[in-house]
């Protein structure tokens, strides 16, 4: 079938583990897989948290003045001095999760399930597992575990290589 043999491929290095930054890699991976590409995701540093069985992703406006959320017909940004206060991140996370639900945007859990279902190859970085003491049993099934060379091998054969 044509749509399953596009013969193109894409790799993504996933380095960030916050709720907002979890979206681009999973959206692109699932979409590319749906468009017939072979997709590999390499999870390293904070990105490795996205492979945990129980996701508890958060978002912070601290150091991110570009982040504004719609509120009552306007857009609200939070000054850094307030974003640094205890509870600010939890509040922002709750607001964003509510928006995600309201706007029909998929959850990260859902996109990750769809990636697995679409045979996206997931590689967990062994060095990061050692560094942050993340156990294999705390992560989802079906992962490959490897290092930089594993990604380089994939990348040399891929049409698209992204670093997120």
């Amino acid at each position: 079938m044509l749509d399953d043999h596009n013969a193109k491929s894409m790799s993504i290095i996933v380095t960030k583990g916050t709720l907002d930054w979890a979206y681009p890699p999973f959206i692109l991976a699932t979409t590319a897989a749906a468009m017939g590409l072979e997709v590999t995701m390499f999870f390293t540093f904070y990105g490795l948290h996205l492979l945990k069985k129980d996701l508890d992703l958060k978002v912070s406006t601290l150091g991110n003045p570009g982040m504004e959320m719609p509120m009552g017909g306007m857009h609200m940004a939070m000054p850094n001095i307030m974003a640094a206060l205890p509870g600010a991140s939890a509040l922002t996370t709750t607001m964003m999760k509510n928006l995600i639900k309201k706007k029909g945007v998929a959850s990260i859990e859902e996109l990750r399930d769809l990636a697995v279902e679409a045979d996206v190859r997931l590689i967990a970085c062994q060095m990061t597992m050692d560094l942050f003491e993340i156990k294999r049993e705390d992560m989802i099934e079906g992962l490959d575990i490897g290092g930089a060379a594993s990604w380089v091998e994939v990348a040399t054969k891929s049409d698209i290589n992204l670093y997120i």
Binding site: L2, D3, T31, A34, M35, V105, A106
Partner: protein
Amino acid sequence: MADLILDAKGLNCPLPILRAKKALNSLPSGATLEVQATDPGAVMDFEAFCRTTGNELLESRMDGSTYVFLIRHTG
């Protein structure tokens, strides 16, 4: 009349495409899928999806506030 109708209304990127792909997989070659969506980004995305996958976009139109795409599963 399409062989299968997919209601993707209220869903945002990339869910309409992902659901459409799954629906196309369930159809034999030559069968048609109608996707109903409310995401305005879906207009360009279904064109790109069909060009890349080789499925045929027979129709892309608006029905009230709903975008309707008719796709033939070709392969």
